[in-house]
């Protein structure tokens, strides 16, 4: 029988199993030891593996992420935690100019098996410097795989995959689905997780729910919101298909296209900033393929409307797309004038 785990438990179990298997794996970061990671991603690991393999660091992200790069280039497999993704600004040079580019600049002559993990997301009023998603920022820069799980099962398999990958992987977990005892979370993210190790390949989106009328392309915590929205929409007679991207680099364009070809309607539900980010990229996938996608309505995007995340609850709830916003956007999509004829149909 499989057990239910929170996403935090799933992540730390994946790390523990890989650490047991492979002595080259170790963990570095702020408060990853006694504290077990601020978001419990390394909970219990210090007791199991000791402080030589679960290393608390100074607040020196450039130095310890850079040290991870050096150790990885030497064949070790560091897992480095950047506590909140929002702190990337103090260490982005090590991340994007080195971790991400060294393999390429070496013409493929080195490996860089490193996992950089960080907490993302808002919804609990942690304001402008502690609530961002920013996955699109990493995804825009070549050389990093970017993994953004929505639930415990995926998190374990994707983390094991990440640790075994010889390339740098950025693993971003949304705080609001970790199943922490001190933050309300979406229960759908806590699910059955096999005890035995398993991996989930990167670049394969998951159809969370099949549907006929509207495709919602989404990821991370927003998947859980989309599920709630879909239930509400189903009651109103609107059949929603949910695509959970799971990884944004690589991006599973085929699954997106297949779903939108079927439903003819696309809603992108994203917790990152609206402009120049994830939602634009997904829109482009469609816009570049309008000869084979018959859209019944223009695509729609939900995302943070290009403002920093405000602290005050009513403001934050307004800027981060909520279940109700997904419902309203899906309804509006379905209500858009029909039928429409796509480029594709006119070619026939």
């Amino acid at each position: 029988m499989t057990r239910k785990l929170t996403m935090a438990q799933a992540v730390s179990e994946a790390i523990a199993q890989e650490m047991s298997r492979d002595p080259e794996v170790f963990v570095m970061g702020e408060d990853v030891g006694k504290y077990g990671g601020i978001f419990s991603a390394t909970s219990g690991l210090l007791d199991k593996f000791g402080k030589d393999r679960i290393m608390d660091t100074p607040i020196s992200e450039t130095a310890f992420i850079g040290a991870g790069i050096g150790a990885a280039a030497d064949g070790m497999r560091p897992i480095v935690e950047l506590m909140f993704v929002d702190f990337f600004g103090v260490c982005m040079d090590m991340i994007y100019n080195h971790m991400a580019k060294n393999i390429y600049m070496a013409g493929g002559n080195i490996r860089l098996p490193m996992v950089l993990m960080a907490g993302i997301g808002g919804g609990y009023n942690d304001a402008a410097q502690h609530s961002q998603c920013l996955y699109a920022t990493f995804a825009h820069m070549p050389g990093m795989k970017v993994v953004v799980p929505s639930n415990a099962y995926d998190a374990k398999g994707l983390m094991m995959q990440a640790i075994r990958d010889d390339n740098p992987v950025v693993f971003l977990f949304h705080k609001g689905i970790m199943g922490l005892s001190w933050m309300s979370y979406f229960e759908g993210s806590t699910n059955e997780v096999p005890e035995a190790p398993y991996t989930i390949p990167f670049g394969e989106a998951r159809i969370v729910r099949e549907g006929a009328d509207v495709t919602i392309v989404t990821l991370s915590q927003m998947v859980q919101k989309a599920v709630l929205a879909a239930e509400e929409l189903a009651a109103a007679g609107i059949s929603v298909e949910i695509v959970d991207l799971r990884t944004v680099v690589p991006l599973d364009k085929d699954t997106i296209l297949r779903s939108v070809r079927k439903t003819g309607r696309l809603l992108i539900a994203d917790e990152d900033y609206l402009s120049y980010g994830l939602s634009g990229e997904i829109a482009a996938v469609i816009a570049e393929n309008l000869d084979s996608v018959a859209l019944k309505a223009p695509i729609r995007r939900l995302a943070v409307p290009d403002v920093p995340i405000p602290f005050s609850r009513p403001l934050e709830q307004f800027v981060i797309p909520q279940v109700s916003a997904i419902v309203a956007a899906a309804r509006a999509l379905v209500a858009a004038p029909q039928p429409a004829i796509s480029l594709e149909e006119t070619h026939a």
Binding site: F87, Y124, N125, A128, Q129, S181, P305, F311, E316
Partner: protein, 335 residues
């Protein structure tokens, strides 16, 4: 330089007010966050209640704030970090608007947009940031502006001992020393950066010893004591005002509460805070005042009541203030 009677009284009364403010917040913060009001299974819900989000309180660290700010004028700049209330209060930031900000109200310093780690009061030249180490570069900038304009205003950057291992510390110290900026760097060594002890983060014992790396004076204050801080700051502020350049001060202080409210503090030796509290700097300064004849029971009571009233009024103001309209979230990205 020893503090005048007025300065001693101001420091005492301000410490009392800060402590009351922080302890009140510790209580208010818990409203709505505990079972049975929260999602089933949770011990605590950080996002619930009238003051949601992280909350870093400074009870125990009052001497650093008052000992330094006793020397400051309204045109001097203070930049704090993620644990900013004691500095804000000592710098004169109005309690009402500050508290309203932490409640996310429209009357707050930032109309509810900033929250407790992001208090901006341009009138009192106070600001802070939730990013460790981020207080230092902007403080250099304020000092640079003062220097360019030929005023004798100074700037103070406050930060924790954990922040001294952030690159921004080093870059700012060098820049300030190089350009002889009127800035005072004040490090609060409260022994922890969240759960990480100083010995686990820092290769030497006194950060003030790092000042030599910049040709800058460094002053270590070994006691969590307002007068001791006052004296160190007197030298540093005078040096800055005279145009001689920056100083780095480190104060050994104590954090009585968790890193943030809700911190399980399992990393702390049992009984540690109880021991620390025995050396509480507030009653200690009170006793000194009494010895000097500046305080008696009645005056103390009155002063404490006055502080309590001001604090209570601020929380009341915050509670009664309206929230901003949701769509106001779209305003103020640019002005």
């Amino acid at each position: 330089m020893t503090p005048s009677n007025a300065q001693l009284l101001w420091m005492y009364q301000t410490m009392v007010e800060i402590r009351d403010y922080e302890e009140t917040m510790a209580k208010v913060y818990l409203e709505g966050k505990l079972p049975p009001n929260v999602q089933k299974g949770l011990a605590f819900d950080i996002g619930a209640g009238p003051v949601p989000g992280e909350m870093h309180l400074a009870a125990g660290q009052e001497p650093v704030a008052v000992g330094v700010c006793a020397h400051l004028r309204i045109d001097d700049t203070v930049v704090g970090a993620h644990r900013p209330h004691h500095f804000a209060i000592a710098k004169g930031v109005p309690l009402n608007e500050m508290t309203a900000e932490m409640f996310g109200k429209d009357t707050g310093l930032g109309r509810g947009k900033g929250g407790h780690m992001h208090l901006f009061d341009p009138a009192h030249k106070f600001s802070c940031s939730g990013i460790v180490g981020a207080s230092m570069p902007p403080a250099c900038g304020a000092a640079l502006a003062a220097k360019k304009r030929g005023t004798d205003a100074v700037a103070v950057a406050f930060f924790g001992e954990g922040a001294t291992n952030q690159g921004a510390f080093h870059e700012s110290m060098n820049l300030a020393a190089l350009w002889k900026l009127p800035v005072i760097f004040v490090c609060e060594d409260n022994k922890y950066a969240i759960s990480v002890e100083k010995s686990v983060s820092t290769s030497i014992e006194w950060n003030s010893d790092r000042a030599v790396a910049y040709g800058m004076p460094g002053i270590g204050v070994a006691e969590n004591d307002a007068v001791a801080v006052f004296k160190a700051a007197a030298t540093a502020v005078a040096r800055a005002r005279s145009g001689a350049g920056p100083t780095l001060i480190e104060v050994k202080t104590d954090r009585y509460l968790g890193h943030f409210q809700g911190d399980p503090e399992t990393y702390r030796p049992k009984g540690e805070t109880a021991t620390l509290r025995k050396n509480d700097p507030i009653p200690r300064l009170g006793a000194q005042l009494r010895e000097l004849g500046l305080l008696d029971d009645d005056a103390d009571k009155a002063l404490r009541k006055a502080a309590r009233d001001r604090v209570a009024a601020a929380y009341d103001f915050a509670r009664k203030s309206p929230y901003p309209k949701p769509e106001d979230a779209l305003l103020h990205v640019f002005i």
